[in-house]
């Protein structure tokens, strides 16, 4: 599983959110807090499920709560992705 960088995670999140909101990606700044978006908790969970499918690993559902902005969540995903890649590398060495 390739490592996902913070930039890639941020881009993925912005594209998905922009699509859901029907606005251009430029209108969704990375600093945006999820609760400032016109996304309810249903849409946030659906987004989380789609993101897990893309990442190939499960994110705790509380992740969205504890990392409440796009930028913050993207950084967490990058850290988690790198940590998991490191674990897999160690296991296969």
């Amino acid at each position: 599983m390739p490592v996902v960088t913070a930039v890639e995670a941020q881009q993925w999140l912005i594209e998905k959110i922009a699509h859901r909101l029907g606005v251009p990606s430029e209108d969704v700044p990375p600093e945006t807090y999820f609760d400032e978006l016109d996304l309810d908790s249903t849409e946030a969970l659906i987004l989380a499920g789609e993101m897990e499918n893309w990442l190939g690993f499960e994110l705790g559902t509380t992740t969205l709560w504890y990392h409440p902005s796009i930028k913050d969540l993207a950084e967490y995903i990058a850290e988690e992705s790198a940590a998991r890649a490191g674990e897999n590398h160690a296991a296969s060495a």
Partner: protein
């Protein structure tokens, strides 16, 4: 820059302030829907009647369990004591009524029985709560996909304020994946979800919903309720979680009487529909015992 959130939802939500001595309704809420869903009830109450929602999700062990697999490191008794502490801190000595929706009713009933006799309310109002009695306590295995998927469709409809009508025949005997496809088709047809909603996303939403149910089921399973020392008033939804079950099992726990009323809507929309709120408001308003609507005595 807004600080990172370190805690979950709050316990106390004051949706309407009391005035003119009309008292306050305290309503125990078990999550699933946001506490603000009770605003419809706040608007249906007579002006000056307070409504404070006590959200169990404010207890971290309870809240996080719905997001981390459905096993809560707490008990019904502990939740009741936690809510009781909040209630004691808010109590201004004025008239009050206690109510609970769904699993919140189970906790509210435990809370009343753990209060000193002189502090108990004159009645307890239960909104589509299933009794915590051996006949109604279920192992997890009893919650099979067709049942859960039907409830999930109801929940999704309430969350999105759009109908999600799935033919139960389509869910009967099927598995979760097939069932979710039918739920998604119905949600898209009713405008509750976009037609391009990814199955992985809906699966995540369903998994979180089921974990919340399992959490409450596992909390209820080992719990032994004391019979109520106050009369119980039960409001069942037309589309209750257990259709056709008039008392939801409360009879053995109601030696001082059980009134049963019916509200429009389903288990979830009974909280947001104005016609349901009108029924509930008549029953919960403090010191309104003499003005309550006709009911069936059990």
């Amino acid at each position: 820059m807004r600080p990172r959130r370190d805690a979950g939802p709050a316990v106390v939500h004051r949706l309407a302030e009391a005035g003119d001595g009309l008292g306050t309704v305290f309503l125990v809420h078990p999550g699933a829907l946001a506490a603000g869903v009770h605003r419809t009830l706040a608007e249906a109450l007579p002006p000056g009647t307070g409504l404070t929602v006590l959200d169990l999700s404010g207890h971290p062990a309870y809240w996080e369990a719905a997001l981390t697999g459905g096993r809560a490191d707490t008990t019904v008794e502990e939740l009741a004591d936690r809510i009781g502490d909040e209630l004691a801190a808010l109590d201004d000595g004025g008239p009050r009524t206690l109510a609970g929706w769904s699993f919140g009713g189970v906790v509210a009933q435990a809370l009343v029985e753990r209060m000193p006799a002189g502090r108990r309310p004159d009645r307890l109002v239960l909104l589509d709560s299933i009794a915590p009695t051996p006949e109604y306590q279920q192992p997890d295995e009893a919650l099979e996909p067709p049942l859960l998927l039907g409830w999930f469709a109801m929940y999704l409809g309430a969350k999105r304020s759009r109908p999600v009508d799935v033919d139960p025949q389509l869910l009967a005997g099927g598995g979760t994946e097939d069932g979710l496809r039918h739920v998604l088709a119905a949600a898209a047809a009713g405008g509750a979800l976009p037609a391009d909603t990814p199955p992985a996303g809906l699966r995540k939403l369903y998994g979180t919903y089921v974990d919340g149910l399992l959490r409450n089921n596992r909390l209820t399973a080992p719990y032994t309720a004391r019979p109520s020392t106050v009369p119980l008033v039960l409001v069942t939804a037309e589309r209750s979680l257990l259709p056709g079950d008039r008392t939801l099992g409360w009879g053995p726990l109601a030696p001082h009487g059980l009134e049963v009323h019916r509200s429009p809507g389903d288990h979830y929309t009974m909280l947001s529909r104005p016609d349901a709120a009108a029924v509930i408001a008549r029953l919960v308003r403090p010191a309104a015992s003499a003005r309550r609507a006709p009911a069936t005595k059990v």
